[in-house]
């Protein structure tokens, strides 16, 4: 924030903010008497979800109720100059904080700067509300390698899994930015402006758009469906279950390193789903592969979505059903906070949709949580016949920022 007149408020659109900021700037020292007259009225309720606080104990965009849209980008450093990296992270933090508050990426923004200069904001979100935009920042192991910082063991590269068909161009990355919002244009705007800010220090490695959140991260949310038509993430960790989050998601002080305490790890997997062949599969087959009913989403043998699956002796759920293999009981109690999105990246040139699930999950230790579960699924899950993992990455997600701090500060200055 460059001045307190930029302070956005819930429900304020960029256009209104723009007018208000302009007026505020013009009247600085005189007292705001004209222009934005909202001092006397509350902002209208914002169906877009309003403003999610940027700073806090944890980064936003993890246990924040999952927004509808995603733009995720993985970037590589194009320099190992630490000062250049720090400078970028400072500028990124400022821009991200502004954008999540519904403001333009930089003062002056899309139209109010020197007309001979390219606008400092790209402009496509002008007039759009904050839309619950969150921007979550992660650090890849390769960044630590490049800067000569030891990797925490949890940040080891994932081992290969059976049937992996990973495309290097869709995998890895020194840094990631996860932008989620209830308006796709707002999420894309955020990523685009941050990518632009990074030119000369970072370059885009890969990026993924997502829609139709496939997970609920709060008990206030309904469970959405993936592109196989099934409810996905019924058993997800929820924001309200703080004990489970402390046990499964947040890095405790004893685990280390210090710059990650209160942070978490993010596993991203781009999972291509062969929807055409799936759609030719009988309902019975679909349900037994999944272990849930398609309509209600109840475990096979139960009536309601949130009924506890019977995985014990005599269970009607097949030994290799997806929910059994992925269950905490089957994985030493390991759970994770899933926050994935559906995607359709056009078509594949062969007449099929290039569709699938962009799996995102936050956890304390991928080696303890994601890796055992995925080895099980890759070997035994019958659903593998219909899916392929085509992209993969792991990032350390630092804790939230206190006032004045910037992304990665405790790593690079600590």
């Amino acid at each position: 924030m460059t001045s307190n007149t930029d302070e956005p408020r819930p429900g304020m659109s960029r256009r209104r903010l723009l007018g208000w900021t302009g007026a505020g700037a013009a009247l600085a020292g005189v007292g705001a008497v004209a222009g934005y007259s909202a001092a006397d009225t509350d902002p209208p309720p914002d169906p877009s979800g309003g403003v999610v606080p940027f700073r806090g104990v944890h980064q936003a965009g993890i246990i924040t109720p999952a927004q509808d849209r995603l733009h995720f980008v993985a970037l590589d450093l194009t320099t190992v100059d630490r000062a250049a990296v720090i400078s970028l992270l400072r500028r990124w933090t400022t821009a991200a904080e502004r954008m999540t508050a519904g403001a333009e990426a930089a003062p002056g923004g899309a139209v109010n700067r020197n007309p001979d200069a390219p606008p400092s904001d790209t402009g496509e979100a002008l007039g759009l509300p904050a839309s619950a935009l969150t921007i979550t920042f992660g650090i890849g192991g390769s960044l630590l390698d490049k800067l000569g910082i030891p990797r925490p063991p949890e940040l080891a590269d994932l081992p290969p899994f059976q049937l992996d068909t990973l495309d290097p161009a869709l995998s890895g990355g020194d840094l990631c930015l996860q932008a989620c919002a209830n308006d796709p244009q707002v999420a894309v705007h955020a990523v685009r402006n941050l990518v632009r800010t990074g030119f000369g220090t970072t370059s885009v490695r890969w990026s993924q758009l997502g829609f139709g959140r496939t997970s609920s991260t709060s008990t206030t949310q309904q469970t959405h469906r993936n592109l196989f038509g099934f409810k996905d993430g019924t058993n997800n960790l929820k924001a309200e279950d703080t004990a489970a989050l402390d046990e499964q998601v947040w890095v405790p002080p004893a685990q280390g390193p210090a710059w990650l305490t209160g942070g978490t790890y993010l596993v991203a997997r781009r999972i291509r789903m062969y929807v055409e062949t799936w759609d030719r599969t009988s309902l019975t087959e679909q349900e037994s592969l999944t272990g849930r009913t398609k309509g209600e989403g109840a475990p096979i043998g139960q009536a309601r979505e949130f009924d506890i699956p019977n995985l014990g002796p005599g269970s009607p759920i097949l030994e290799d059903a997806h929910i059994r293999l992925a269950s905490a009981q089957n994985n030493g109690g390991a759970r994770m906070l899933r926050r994935g999105y559906n995607f359709v990246d056009g078509s594949d040139g062969l007449g099929h949709l290039n569709a699938g699930l962009f799996f995102l999950a936050f956890m304390q230790d991928p080696r303890r949580q994601f890796v055992p579960m995925q080895s099980q699924l890759a070997r035994n899950d019958k659903m593998m016949e219909y899916i392929r993992h085509t992209g993969s990455a792991v990032f350390a997600v630092p804790p939230g920022l206190r006032e004045g701090a910037y992304w990665g500060q405790s790593l690079l200055e600590g």
Partner: protein
């Protein structure tokens, strides 16, 4: 040629800045006021003085080596303050350089006319009164770029004539070798050349460009197609003659164009846009695949425009110049990796990863270059 027509530039409309009055001080030189002596061998560049007071500085360059050499005086950011080219073995040439502003300059001999040359610092003391005013600095930028444009067109006409002559005598290998070289000069000054909306499509139009009915596909790319795809045609010679006539028309008209500093800055940016959209995509030289020659030339031209503006930039935003230096150097280093002999590898030899690296380098350079116009306009 660009798909986005530039705002037409006319000589009349653009004389927005006052040219500073010419300072007519007597030439300064070493010791007794005579010229500074430069002895240029194949491996050394001995300059008899490393310092001179601001004003006109005279050099006398003697080529004592066996290769043709060149002598340059550079300002910050490799802004060419003065140059003498084509000094044959045993010959002596004079150079009078106007250096109104004091500061750190660089002298360089280039035996064999390649590379960065044999360089040495050259200090100019004091400043000619009034020479550092904003108007004077901008006027010098415009005048300096005008000289650059004129010299590029002159050299381009000579090289293109060689190319056309080869076409006319049916010497396809020679013409093919000259094609990318002769285009270099055009590509360096493309924003100026394109500002003549009628000359650009005739000289640098592509086969699939939209044309008015009855207007034929002519110019460099038509000859490129003849040389690489269809073989020389009955009208190839005539196309060559038209190309030369168009180049000479460009020379006449360009001499009257005076770009504003902001146009100069935008030209630098547009040259990089050309690289991003036309060269890294292999679109420009689709028959010969000599796109990297054009890439090099576009970057050269962009750097020349930025360098001309450099004193103004350094006055107004001292942080920007060093960033530009570093990013231009990154692109130079990258392009050198694709050098093959006197030229470059063909576009068809590039991998996806090569193109990715080029895109990254041009993105990294394009952002700071896009800031130059606003700094210069100072609004």
């Amino acid at each position: 040629m660009s798909r986005r027509p530039l705002a037409a530039v006319t000589g009349a409309a653009l004389a927005m800045i006052a040219l500073s009055a010419c300072t007519s001080t007597a030439p300064q030189g070493g010791g007794e006021g005579g010229p500074i002596q430069v002895r240029a061998s194949d491996t050394t560049c001995d300059v008899s003085a490393s310092e001179a007071p601001a004003g006109n500085v005279a050099f006398s360059i003697q080529n004592t080596g066996t290769k043709v050499t060149e002598f340059y005086v550079y300002g910050t950011g490799d802004r060419i303050v003065g140059e003498v080219e084509n000094i044959g073995p045993g010959l002596s040439r004079q150079l009078l350089v106007e250096v109104p502003q004091g500061g750190q300059y660089t002298t360089a001999c280039k035996p064999g006319m390649v590379g960065d040359g044999i360089r040495a610092p050259f200090n100019v003391t004091g400043s000619v009164p009034g020479s550092t005013s904003q108007d004077a600095v901008l006027a010098a930028a415009v005048a300096g770029y005008q000289r650059y444009t004129n010299s590029q067109i002159e050299a381009g006409i000579a090289k293109t004539q060689e190319f056309v002559d080869a076409v006319k005598r049916g010497d396809v290998p020679a013409a093919q070798a000259l094609f990318p070289v002769s285009r270099t000069y055009w590509e360096r000054i493309e924003p100026v050349a394109e500002s003549f909306g009628d000359i650009d499509p005739r000289v640098d139009g592509r086969e699939d460009d939209e044309r008015d009915p009855g207007v034929a596909f002519t110019g460099y790319h038509r000859l490129e197609k003849d040389l690489w795809v269809t073989g020389l045609q009955p009208d190839s010679a005539a196309i060559g003659d038209t190309l030369m006539a168009d180049m000479r028309e460009l020379q006449t008209r360009a001499a009257t164009v005076q770009l504003t500093p902001v146009q100069l800055a935008n030209g630098a940016k547009e040259l990089l846009d050309e690289v991003a959209t036309g060269k890294i995509t292999g679109e420009e030289d689709r028959y010969s695949h000599t796109d990297l020659w054009d890439f090099r030339a576009n970057v050269d031209g962009s750097q020349a425009a930025v360098a001309a503006l450099r004193p103004a930039l350094d006055q107004r935003d001292p942080a920007l110049g060093p960033v530009l230096d570093a990013r231009f150097a990154d692109v130079d280093r990258l392009l050198e990796q694709y050098r093959a002999g006197d030229g470059y590898v063909l576009y068809t030899q590039l991998t996806e990863q090569d193109k990715q690296r080029m895109t990254q380098a041009v993105d990294a350079l394009g952002e700071p270059v896009s800031q130059v116009a606003a700094v210069v306009s100072g609004q």
